[in-house]
């Protein structure tokens, strides 16, 4: 017991769980009305790191109904946790970000921790920060580096904790995609493809209409990816982290 307690203390000290993000204003790629310049973002807190396999396994011990092979097919597709061997983690993967989890499972995890998934606006707001700048979304070098992820063959991704941004949040780019609370706008668990016009915005020239930064290809890809998902989808390259409104945590 003593050893365990000491160990968890070290982990806690070594891994600040959640980072406070100050309020601000932000122009996401999509969603602004004509004439609108940006949105106000309230202060919130977000996990410094992606949720790991080990953390998710601990959660499943509390929620066996969401375990691999147990979860309802309404809540996750067939590839849920497909990288796990049965209910156990593949060796050496405990610290790696958990992937192949559905939106339902990710959100349930965050709720279990007294939090929620970050909204798309919050996520994009934090992810616009480089090592030195709070909004680097117009910095060509920053955008090019993120785009580099797509030029890297699948499976040859960076090791963990490669990039820590100015807020102290790690690996928002170049590791895995991340779930957001409102990943496809008004999500009703159903097939997102019914929302024809919104999705049409992701195709062809349509993608450029109404977007705030036509050259932010990395953001286009994130919005396209989110648009292709439904809440039960799982992808081998899609993980998550949790967030909480600052008032909620108090």
């Amino acid at each position: 017991m003593w050893i365990l307690a000491a160990l968890s203390l070290v982990i806690a000290a070594d891994r600040p769980v959640r980072v406070a993000i100050p309020a601000g204003r932000f122009a996401p790629l999509f969603g602004l009305d004509t004439g609108q310049r940006d949105f106000a973002v309230s202060a919130f807190a977000i996990d410094a790191r992606l949720v790991s396999n080990a953390e998710f396994a601990a959660f499943l011990r509390a929620r066996p109904d969401l375990g691999k092979g147990r979860i309802s097919s309404a809540l996750a597709d067939e590839c849920y946790l497909s990288h796990w061997e049965g209910a156990t983690l593949p060796p050496g993967s405990s610290a790696a970000p958990v992937v192949s989890v559905s939106w339902f499972a990710a959100q349930a995890y965050c709720e279990w921790r007294g939090a929620r998934l970050p909204s798309t606006l919050e996520w994009e707001y934090v992810a616009a920060a480089s090592e030195t700048d709070r909004d680097a979304s117009r910095d060509p070098a920053f955008v090019a580096r993120i785009l580099g992820w797509y030029s890297r063959p699948t499976g040859k991704d960076l090791p963990g904790e490669s990039h820590r941004n100015v807020y102290g949040v790690y690996d928002l780019h170049q590791r895995v995609w991340e779930w957001t609370l409102d990943f496809n706008g008004a999500f009703n668990t159903a097939d997102n493809r019914q929302d024809g016009d919104k999705i049409a915005g992701m195709f062809c020239g349509g993608g450029a209409i109404g977007s705030a930064r036509r050259e932010d290809y990395a953001a286009f890809m994130r919005y396209a990816l989110r648009g292709s998902l439904s809440a039960r989808s799982t992808l081998a390259s899609l993980g998550f982290r949790c967030a909480a409104s600052t008032t909620e945590t108090r």
């Binding site: 030029s151 915005g201 989808s233």
Partner: protein, 486 residues
């Protein structure tokens, strides 16, 4: 449009009284899909069928040129993607599978589809998923298909395009050979020929300044052993596409006249055409008869792309020279014009007589690969050159001379380019060789040792240190290659 209009009205009538797509009664068949440069065999059916097409999206590393790796996004693992052939009036059940190791969602817009987005919205597919939609092939012709997921330009620039041919109910006459060739422009961080893994450059793409313009997804996809083949007397039909994303192609085959061109992939042929425009996101069907043997070069006649960016393919035709059609060189003698030039005698000595210096033990494999990536598109695979355009390096008296007596000039030729009149093995050339960049000292030493000891050439090996010295000398000497006399 006339035919399709009447088709539409009959279709509308059918729809009014029967459930959508009275397709269940059609015979079902699975489409044969082929990799470039092959085309599925002509459809011999005389009535409509329901055709099942399954296309898988694969993101994978491939070669943009020898030694140049690139992460391609593909339909079926190749660029262009699989060739699809259906018949006018067929009902096509289309499946798009997005492999689960892929990072991105993808979809497909087939220009052969009548309906919003050409299928794009119906096939928007996350990694590890598959989608399906059905369409009726109303209009015959040759159509591009491509990915239309945002940012669409990047999906196309990474190789997401191919051709679908809707064979007319009255098919085109049978030919001996059909081939599939699609041009595309590529945008890499490094310049043409820069080795290793190359990432997509958004800046180059937006500036419409490609580092590569190639046929069938890589420089060299249709050269050497992979050249298209034919025999004298045969008829050939090329299904040509242009994926773009940016450039319009001036498609031309050096030494051929197209007997027929179905411009833009449409229904009516133009005859006797030298060069045909293939728009980005468009196509052309060209036909010609092989009248005499030789190597015919496929190019984008916006010619710097061919010389410097890779848009060069070959068709090798065997079966004997037809002297009636083409004689070959009948005469080559001196021409003095009205002023007598001092030396009227054009020397044509065999190269081996030039150099007697101890020769190197070249690192042949590495040298060859460097040669293939940097020089072969102009000087050809075995240094034979192209008469009238690119001088030979094989048994070249010019090369042997400078490789032995003026090594600085050889290094300068590569690093600064060369222009102005020169005589190689008795033939005059007055072209432009553009500088070849991106070669380090060690690579350049290997490359020059290779070319000056191949194909009957002989000269001492170049060392890395020697190259370094010569490079410094070349770079500090002010003017570039000698400029042409005015």
């Amino acid at each position: 449009m006339k035919t399709s209009l009447s088709l539409m009205t009959t279709l509308a009538m059918m729809l009014a009284c029967a459930p959508a797509f009275a397709a269940a009664e059609l015979p079902l068949e699975k489409a044969t899909l082929t990799e470039p440069p092959n085309v599925p065999p002509p459809i011999t059916r005389t009535s409509a069928a329901k055709v099942l097409v399954e296309l898988e999206v694969i993101e994978k590393v491939g070669q943009l040129a020898d030694g140049v790796d690139y992460v391609f996004w593909t339909y079926g693992g190749t660029v262009p993607g699989r060739f699809i052939r259906v018949r006018e009036g067929d009902t096509v059940e289309f499946w798009l599978m997005n492999h689960q190791n892929n990072k991105l969602p993808h979809n497909i817009d087939l220009h052969a589809v009548t309906g919003p987005g050409g299928g794009a919205a119906s096939t928007f597919t996350a990694p590890g998923h598959k989608t399906r939609f059905t369409f009726k092939a109303l209009n015959p012709g040759l159509y591009i298909y491509h990915c239309a997921t945002a940012p669409v330009g990047m999906h196309i620039a990474n190789g997401m395009y191919g051709l679908i041919y809707v064979q007319p109910t009255t098919p085109l006459p049978k030919v001996d050979r059909e081939y599939y060739v699609v041009q595309g422009d590529f945008y890499t961080e490094g310049d043409f020929g820069a080795k290793g893994g190359q990432a997509f450059s958004m800046k180059r793409a937006i500036d419409e300044n490609p580092s590569y313009v190639v046929f069938n997804g890589s420089a060299g996809s249709l050269t050497g052993d992979r050249a298209l083949k034919g025999k004298v007397g045969e008829t050939v039909r090329l299904f040509i596409g242009n994926g773009g994303p940016n450039l319009v192609s001036s498609f031309h085959v050096i030494g051929e006249i197209f007997d027929k061109v179905f411009t833009e992939g449409g229904s009516r042929p133009q005859e006797n055409v030298q060069t045909t425009i293939v728009p980005a996101g468009g196509s052309a069907i060209v036909e010609y008869k092989l009248d005499t043997d030789g190597t015919y070069i496929l190019v984008d006649h916006s010619i710097f792309r061919t010389f410097n960016k890779g848009s060069l393919g070959m068709m090798k035709v065997e079966g004997g020279q037809n002297k009636d059609v083409y004689s070959g060189k009948e005469l080559d003698e001196s021409y003095l014009g009205d002023e007598s030039v001092a030396s009227a005698v054009l020397p044509n000595r065999p190269a081996a007589a030039v150099a007697k210096a101890p020769t190197a033990k070249p690192d042949a494999a590495a040298g060859k690969s460097l040669y293939m990536a940097n020089c072969s598109m102009c000087h050809q695979q075995n240094g034979e050159g192209i008469p009238g355009a690119f001088p030979p390096l094989a048994a070249s008296d010019f090369l042997n001379n400078i490789a032995n007596k003026n090594r600085l000039d050889l290094v300068a030729t590569v690093l600064k380019g060369r222009t102005g009149k020169i005589t190689v093995n008795g033939k005059e050339y007055n072209g432009v060789m553009t500088p070849v960049s991106g070669l380090g000292d060690a690579d350049l030493a290997t490359l020059l040792t290779y070319v000056s000891n191949q194909w009957g050439n002989k000269a001492p090996a170049f060392s890395k240190d020697e190259i370094k010295k010569l490079r410094d000398a070349v770079m500090t000497a002010a003017p570039a290659a000698p400029s042409p006399p005015h």
